[in-house]
């Protein structure tokens, strides 16, 4: 490839990585089952350098992929074979704190938590809080439209980005939006957020930060079953209460969390964590109502965190639930599906049936308030055939979610992981319409190719569970 020499001239000393052992550091993101070693990695420090790299790639017809912290779970930052990986790790400066406007302008390599830390002393915070927030970057959050436990009330990244400076796939620079929440014309900013790095590379991001709530109260409720806990969730919604978060864990995940981090959870069939925030009088009123609803649905233990330390402990078990699975199984596969909240009991029963059918255990931990499930499929990689069976089970759960009127992913993204499952949810005309948007931004298809939208080349001959779904079945799948 002729590129490396060219790029060295465009970039500062040490910003080009081409030694094989160093390149391997970038071969995957959080989806470790997929690995591609890039031809070259560049570490630009400025928008102009990103622009120069993208221009050079465009001129040479070389594919390129942007990468933040590499915590994504769908392979969005998986390098392109024979391509350039653009790491934004060195673009990690906060450019402007405009507290009067409640806006923060950052480079893409700033971490999610750094934004809140920069404004917390002024009584503000950045609301989207993906569980990887200590390390994941804002650039990656923009690409994936990240949510988090509190998005039930506060919304997603797309609701908190007001402006972007974007290097388009041909190297042109465009400013979308600004500090106001509106802009004339089609919402290109809204379409860009969540486009998984396929429409360009954001090099400056303007974020909305919001005042910290006056009061935060967290209650844990223990139930005999997920059905009983689910009824309480429905009751809370019917009572016109909008908590900041409603999280549910089933018996298996409670046991694993207890073994791993000892949060002192009760020995229950299911627990709910409900967090309420806002002005004191509203929170106190809602808290009393939530406690009453939980009791009426069979909660036999209620714990309200008395202070921040107790609150952190209640959350600790939930936040470590994925990692805790290592205590009860050697390997696990994390699925990310969404169902309408009212379909949760039905889909949980379906998951229980599938566990029996496949002879594997599934732990269920989920954002119950918005129907976003994270089934953890447990398996033993040393047992022949089990990894494949686990993948098939995870795929069957996804099909159950789509059949119930839900979605393929609530927050992890499509990436390469689910690209061939897209026809489960979208017909060919839907996908073609999305393709039109992509072509308008990237006519030659060099920007994060092979992600998000399925192609016959990608999905026609993929072995294992992620094969293209028969179109007629997609036609039957319930969607509107």
């Amino acid at each position: 490839m002729a590129l490396p020499g060219d790029l060295r001239r465009l970039l500062p000393e040490g910003a080009v990585v081409d030694r094989p052992e160093q390149l391997r550091t970038y071969e995957c993101d959080g989806l470790t089952g997929h690995k591609v070693v890039p031809s070259l990695v560049v570490l630009p420090e400025t928008t102009e350098q990103v622009q120069a790299v993208v221009r050079a790639c465009h001129a040479a017809g070389t594919p390129f992929v942007a990468r933040g912290a590499g915590t994504g779970l769908s392979g969005g930052a998986l390098p392109a074979a024979d391509g350039v990986l653009i790491s934004l790790a060195r673009m990690n400066r906060i450019l402007e704190l405009d507290l009067e406007s409640e806006r923060v302008v950052v480079q893409p390599g700033v971490t999610n938590l750094q934004v809140s830390e920069a404004v917390i002393g002024d009584g503000l915070f950045y609301a989207p809080d993906p569980s990887s927030q200590q390390v994941c970057t804002i650039g990656g959050n923009v690409a994936e439209n990240s949510g988090g436990a509190h998005c039930l009330k506060y919304g997603f990244t797309v609701n908190h980005v007001t402006g972007l400076l974007v290097v388009l796939p041909d190297g042109e620079l465009v400013r979308l939006g600004g500090k106001a929440l509106e802009s004339p014309g089609p919402d290109l900013l809204g379409a860009f957020v969540g486009s998984e790095g396929t429409l360009g590379i954001a090099t400056e991001i303007t974020l909305r930060v919001v005042p910290r709530p006056e009061s935060v109260r967290t209650v844990l409720a223990a139930f005999d079953s997920t059905d009983a806990a689910g009824a309480a969730v429905s009751g809370i919604v019917a009572a016109r209460i909008l908590p900041a978060a409603i999280e549910m864990m089933d018996r298996l995940t409670i046991e694993a969390a207890e073994a791993a981090v000892h949060p002192g959870y009760p020995d229950a069939g299911a627990i709910l964590l409900v967090e309420l925030d806002g002005p004191v009088p509203q929170v106190e009123e809602d808290l009393a109502a939530v406690e009453a609803i939980c009791r009426s649905c069979g909660a036999w233990e209620l714990r309200v965190a008395a202070d921040d330390r107790e609150r952190a402990l209640l959350w600790k078990g939930r936040k470590s639930a994925f990692a805790a699975m290592g205590r009860v199984a050697s390997d696990y596969y994390v699925q990310d599906g969404v169902v309408p909240r009212t379909k949760l009991p039905e889909v949980l029963r379906r998951i229980a049936d599938l566990e029996r059918e496949y002879g594997l255990r599934v732990g269920n931990v989920f954002h119950a308030g918005d129907g976003n499930l994270h089934p953890l499929v447990l398996y033993d990689a040393r047992v022949e055939g089990e990894p494949e069976r686990a993948r098939e089970l995870a795929e069957a759960i996804l099909e159950a979610c789509v059949e119930a009127g839900g979605s393929l992913t609530g927050e992890h993204g499509i990436g390469v992981d689910k690209v061939c499952s897209m026809p489960l949810l979208f017909g060919s005309d839907d996908l073609e319409a999305m393709q039109r948007l992509r072509r308008a931004f990237d006519p030659v298809g060099l920007c994060n190719p092979g992600k998000l939208l399925p192609t016959p080349r990608l999905c026609g001959e993929v072995p294992g569970p992620y094969r293209a779904h028969p179109l007629e079945k997609a036609g039957l799948a319930e969607r509107f």
């Binding site: 089609p186 909240r341 129907g371 897209m422 319409a433």
Partner: protein, 312 residues
């Protein structure tokens, strides 16, 4: 030949697809809910509420459903679409023209409340994106792309929406503001206080209007706290109606950094201002503030969706 426009009242998605495919084949231009095309499409009869799942706080409606009709229906279940633009526009118009009202302070604009969309492209292709769940990152969000698209990318036929509960109580505090600096000081005091208002408007010149919604006792307490900060008196809400009329008559939307409210007001004789959004509705049109590269990019997107230029 004098151009005579034909009014087409469509009542199904497939009818829209046939109409647009035929117009494209015949080389006739089409406009949606406004003059300009040889065919003018009316969505007045695309007026069905297709689904309302109260337990999920979601609804799927046809694009011709009017906001007020929808909210009357949802009220029976104690729910609402928290979108209150002036007049009684259709859902399709709320998306296509990015219409919102004072509730945008807390609940956002159409882009923040739409969770799925079905559109018919200019060649008759029927395409959907999103779905009927609030949390969903599968595929490009065409619903957002169509917000502000002004009917040039395709015809919005169905919309899935996120709903909110109707609050138990709703009360308004109105405080006088003397000049731009005073307006900014008082508005900032409200925005930075530990309060959760649904609306914070400056109705310029003259007053700051703040609406609280929620449980009755909580609203009472917040109203008192706000009054302690900025003064003023409780208002029966009539001011909102007057501001709505002024917003409807406005021909321009001036955008500003929310922290520069005083600077924005200084040049204005009158305006209805959504303070935290940085949007002021002003009597006269304002120049397009977009980066010319964005305008060119939007045109490339338009051309990709409607290469023949059927939609005008």
């Amino acid at each position: 030949m004098p151009s005579v426009s034909e009014l087409a009242e469509v009542e199904s998605v497939h009818q829209v697809a046939e109409l647009l495919a035929r117009a494209a084949a015949e080389g006739r231009r089409v406009s949606i809910e406004r003059e300009g095309g040889e065919v003018v499409v009316s969505t007045a009869r695309l007026d069905q509420v297709l689904e309302h799942e109260a337990g999920d706080l979601t609804a799927i409606v046809e694009a011709g459903v009017r906001i007020r009709d929808l909210n009357e229906r949802l009220a029976a279940a104690g729910q609402r679409l928290a979108l209150d633009p002036p007049g009684n526009p259709t859902i399709g118009a709320c998306l296509a023209a990015d219409l919102s009202g004072p509730l945008r302070h807390r609940f956002g604009a159409a882009r923040d409340l739409v969770i799925g969309v079905t559109v018919v492209l200019a060649d008759g292709t029927i395409a959907s994106s999103g779905g009927k769940v609030v949390k969903n990152v599968a595929g490009y969000d065409l619903a957002k792309l169509f917000c502000g698209s002004a009917g040039r990318l395709g015809l919005i036929v169905r919309v899935a929406l996120r709903l909110h509960p109707v609050p138990e109580a709703s009360r308004t505090l109105v405080a006088p503001v003397d000049d731009p600096a005073d307006a900014q000081t008082r508005a900032r005091a409200i925005l930075r206080a530990p309060l959760a208002p649904s609306s914070v408007d400056v109705h310029w010149p003259g007053r700051l209007a703040i609406r609280f919604e929620g449980a009755a006792r909580a609203v009472e307490a917040q109203l008192a706290a706000a009054r302690a900060l900025v003064g003023g008196d409780e208002d029966d809400g009539a001011g909102w109606g007057e501001a709505e009329e002024r917003q409807a008559a406005a021909r321009g939307r001036l955008l500003f950094a929310p922290g520069d409210l005083a600077g924005a007001l200084a040049g204005l004789d009158e305006a209805v201002v959504r303070v935290a959004a940085g949007v002021a509705y002003v009597p006269e049109p304002v120049p397009d503030p977009r980066d010319p590269v964005e305008v060119a990019l939007a045109e490339r997107v338009r051309a990709a969706f409607d290469p023949q230029g059927v939609l005008v």
